[in-house]
Symmetry: C2
Amino acid sequence: MKLSTNEIRRIRSLAQKKYRDEYGLFVVEGEKLVKEAMDSSFEIESIYRAADIGEEAMSRISMLSSPSPVLATVRKPRTFISGSSCPDTPVRNGLYLGLDSLRDPGNLGTILRIADWFGIDGIFAQHDTVDVFNPKTVQATMGAIFRVDFIYADLAAAVRDFIGQGGTVYGTFMDGENIYNAGIRTGNDSPVMIVIGNEANGISAEIAGLVTGRLSIPPYPAGEPGSESLNAAVATAITVAEFRRRLVNP
Amino acid sequence: MKLSTNEIRRIRSLAQKKYRDEYGLFVVEGEKLVKEAMDSSFEIESIYRAADIGEEAMSRISMLSSPSPVLATVRKPRTFISGSSCPDTPVRNGLYLGLDSLRDPGNLGTILRIADWFGIDGIFAQHDTVDVFNPKTVQATMGAIFRVDFIYADLAAAVRDFIGQGGTVYGTFMDGENIYNAGIRTGNDSPVMIVIGNEANGISAEIAGLVTGRLSIPPYPAGEPGSESLNAAVATAITVAEFRRRLVNP
């Protein structure tokens, strides 16, 4: 099988959000990820194997520095990614994430992987958050993209709705309360959302004004961080791990 | 000031470990990081500003997709990176990391940033761990590279030494004991090292045979992880945070 120049150009164009939106497709690479796509509810458009199209064509369509033996084009779900379904009303004992305009594709993918590990019930991302179908994001999810409920939203409106429906919303802040001392709801009796801020600017003023609790990960020694902050995905991981720890060992 | 083609070529060559070793230099980009380099014990070789050399020359020497206004070439310390000094004998109440052949430059940089936040006393990296002076690693440290003690070592020998000097060595494993239930030494009375495994293969058999305790981060719900694993930097963050939490709140 020989790939036409047009076909190669079409696949390569999916590196850009504009064309992912136009074609309604995104790219998945690697044996493991392509298998996970096939086993998921997502619809595969085409599968390209180096064994069929040749190593050279594969290196032209691949977005990886070391092309893998297989690449698939997969249909984007219309409004959200869903392992099951993205709930309109939050689950009573659900734990959700809110992402306030994250910019780094790798961070976003790592956060989906964390969400998958810790059984997060859904992710609400501010509209201008980096595209979850960015190839770097998809690869960093290690397949979590096929299992975690993800929706782009007006995050302030989503937070207001969530609170209106009896939910509690926490945010991570540099000057929040020490997460290990704070009295937190862990989501066992009412839904909880944890909002993670933008890498450079943190949580926006509007959403900061809405959250019910401000949390902070303490440096060690207390009050003497070497680094000014933690990476957004790292902060997400430590925070979510602590919510799960306290739910299991109250 | 006009940069010669040779000068541009020399700086660009520092993207490769071979030339970083040959010249004994590495590259630091961005106002914040260059300032941290200048305030550190590291020796600056040259500083290049877009204002002096022009935007076009800057875009040629920069290793970032969006070049920053300033780039510095910095001398590599001979054997280790050091905020203070890398101890031959571990500090009595010290907490150390061992990195078993990490491959991803971004992961390594994020781990240095985590180590800086949580006051890690030193990092021992297996010799074939990705180069800590890789430009992606340096940028991901957000300046922690100038403050965290880091040494390349024969990790198995370092672990044996560490135990021989009264230290305890934990490793993170998929089938280790639940970190939240395990009785752990937190480093308040004797030194502790936490070993983090390679992204794909985990901790090598030799080092796995040496560690005093095997730990695991529980998924939620228990026994039902969506993802097969957590990213190496994320696992480091959750593990180190838990050691610090238990040291502060025993």
